[in-house]
Symmetry: C2
């Protein structure tokens, strides 16, 4: 691959060094890279991204957009080689508009960077996957997190995008108004398109006012069923939960070890309610009553920011805590999401399968959304383990689909769930592919992903 | 056009009678139909819709989907003749799932039908354009209404769709889970596509719990600026308004006449807050204080359902009240939406233009979203009046776009705003057209709209 024309422009910002290519060859998941990108380029702006894509499109060279590399379905793997575009230099917060409660950022800004920047503004950005992902990557994978039960996923935050399209043209989607009925919704088409339709180079997003008061509670139960039923009841009576996360006894044990905490090693809910001081106290008590009727073992709650922050940072590191249970192994993460009324059934059947399979897999989930993960620890080079995990996941996904759910609540399709997409979306995939073909006839944009 | 093959199947449900074709030739707006559909068919189910579309696609015959015919930009006009598909027989509520707070409906169900059906369930559907539109039509035009400031537009409600595509294939988009990251977001692509990409034949949507308490207030001001500033301040301090609507003195006068009410004929806010009994009282008082500092003339509030319902049903009939100011005239409705911080400036400059132009045009708006309408009364056959209204609207739209807003907050592009879309969306239209071409190469679906 002759990249000399690009090398002249990007100089040291274009690397073909092995170590750099290797660093960009995989994400945080169990997927083994079968290839390396031929080069990694670190553009500074949209025009440079456009220039790279035009170059690649003329020559049919694959382009792989790369944020923090924290995805979990092999989204950044250079399946057919090509050029990886790392957005780390495009990390500027371009505008914070306090009056309209929105912001404009470049794609390389991480969610923590943004919230750090917003610290003294009274505003915050709610979408919080476990990893400190880039906002570009979060848009590309339609990410969510623990706050989704209240604030929605990234889909509900993004008002508009700038995208460099597969032909190199730079387009703007959406507007800065809170709603618009003008033409096809390209913003939402791009969110979750996993880099297969273009490279996101600028994001306009909503921000939210920090709540006056926050309370959080830790609620261990003897039985996972009691925990899940508490969630369902709380959602159904309309309690304004801002977070409600389930961690099973194995995940709690992993967190105790990794975070040096001393939580009771039982199926546990981490719950948070935000609002006015009075409202929060009233509502956390109502949640306490619901948990009591489901035999909660204790109900520890706190309104101390330090205690609450410690809780959520432990939760955010759940994936790494799980991996640390068996050092050297990788995580094969399931991600089904089902209607909330079917959640208990889905979790119980799945736990039963898990016991039978003897797979070590902590369970952690955004149960307020009906979404939960099993982090199956395995050695990707051990075929038997991989086959077993795949089979387990397949059964879980069939169960979720039968319940009207989805194979992926928030991680996306990537390399790992292409078969599931066919099962789940059926005939509609024909029309997804028509869009892909129409936008990217040479299939240069992140080839091998989604389809 | 030889429709005998379809006539055999649909018999009396296929009409070529002049009066029926005329009834289906236009919507509620000023746009004059230049043509009639060749036939109107009333299918009973998705398979029949598919059959019609396959027939039409084979022969290159235009298809125009028709709900209640209440759109405002000529969306249902049979520009090139063809077959109008009226969904009135597809008016079944297929499922109400109380546990998951969602429903599945056919496209011919109207928003009032659905809420009537939900009356005793504790649930309701929030999206409420003025007209009693069908839910299929509301999806197709990405509708919103007075509740959007709290509940979002129809975009935030729809979880999945069944759509008959231009090649006759019936696809399902989305899932019944609260979120999904599986593949391209065809659901949002279809919402707002105005019948140009397919016919929506089934809708899965979120429902919401009825609030414990509701209070509403009527707040007249001497100056429109004081009213708008109250809105901006209330939004910026994060008051959980469920509705906040501005009506200028002319619109209030129109409502007084049409609804036999005795409101003070001043720029007025209709405000509503929902929540717990305690919370609502606290918050309506905070709003009262904000209004006081902006010199509100009086602050009448009520928590009586009857009073509140009367207020909102008057608001919903604002368009018809405006039309009644000058019987025989039609409404040319503007629909800009701007960032909330620019709203006062946008409204003041627009009112100034209006005074200079001497156009009779009540102003009414969902100001919490930054969206407002002028209903310009005109005779569509009077070219001078039409040119004047178009010129006025063009200037207003340029102003909104310059402020980062949109030409259409909720009515859509249709026939009337095709030029605006080009100004607003620029290069991205190329990619909208690629989708249109890829899905509907013969351009049979609602031709002449959007592009």
């Amino acid at each position: 691959m002759d990249l000399s024309e690009l090398k002249e422009i990007f100089d040291e910002r274009l690397s073909t060094v092995d170590s750099i290519r290797e660093q960009h060859s995989s994400d945080e998941s169990w997927h083994i890279p079968e290839n390396l990108p031929d080069a990694v380029i670190f553009p500074n702006n949209s025009e440079e991204v456009s220039l790279i894509i035009k170059f690649a499109n003329d020559r049919g060279i694959p382009i792989i957009p790369f944020g923090a590399g924290t995805s979990l379905e092999g989204h950044v793997h250079a399946v057919n080689g090509g050029i990886t575009i790392n957005t780390m230099n495009m990390n500027k917060i371009l505008n914070i508009n306090k009056d309209d409660m929105n912001c404009v950022v470049q794609p390389g800004v991480t969610r923590n960077d943004l919230n750090e920047f917003l610290k003294d503004t009274g505003l915050f950005f709610p979408v919080d996957p476990g990893a400190n992902a880039t906002l570009g990557g979060m848009c590309a994978t339609r990410a969510s997190g623990t706050n989704t039960v209240r604030y929605g996923t990234i889909r509900e935050q993004v008002m508009g995008l700038e995208v460099v399209m597969p032909n190199g043209k730079i387009i703007k989607t959406g507007t800065k108004a809170r709603k618009s009925a003008a033409g096809y919704d390209l913003t939402h088409l791009m969110l979750g398109s996993e880099g297969t339709l273009g490279v996101i180079t600028e994001i306009t997003m909503k921000l939210h006012g920090r709540p006056e008061a926050i309370s959080a509670a830790i609620c261990p139960f003897s039985e996972i069923e009691e925990a899940v039923n508490s969630v369902i009841e709380a959602i159904q009576v309309g309690l304004p939960l801002s977070r409600i996360e389930l961690l099973d006894e194995i995940q709690i044990m992993a967190i105790n070890r990794h975070e040096k905490m001393e939580l009771e090693e039982k199926p546990t809910l981490f719950v948070e309610i935000q609002g006015s001081a009075l409202g929060v106290r009233e509502q956390i008590e109502i949640f306490g009553e619901i948990a009591e009727t489901n035999n909660v073992l204790k109900f520890d709650w706190s309104d101390q920011p330090e205690t609450i922050n410690k809780l959520w940072s432990a939760r955010h590191r759940a994936y790494y805590a799980a991996l640390a249970l068996d050092p050297g192994k990788k995580g094969f993460t399931t991600d089904v999401c089902v209607p909330i009324s079917r959640l208990t059934e889905c979790i119980l059947e799945t736990k039963k399968d898990l016991e039978e399979s003897e797979i070590l897999a902590p369970l952690v989930g955004h149960v307020g959304d009906g979404n939960f993960h099993l982090i199956m620890l395995l050695d990707p080079d051990n075929n038997e383990e991989v086959v077993k995990a795949k089979k387990f996941n397949e059964k879980l996904i069939d169960r979720a689909l039968e319940m009207g759910g989805t194979s992926t609540g928030e991680h996306g399709i990537g390399l790992g769930k292409k078969d599931c997409l066919i099962k789940e979306q059926g005939l509609s995939i024909e029309f997804m592919k028509k869009i892909k073909m129409a936008f990217d006839p040479k299939n240069i944009m992140n080839p091998g992903k989604i389809f």
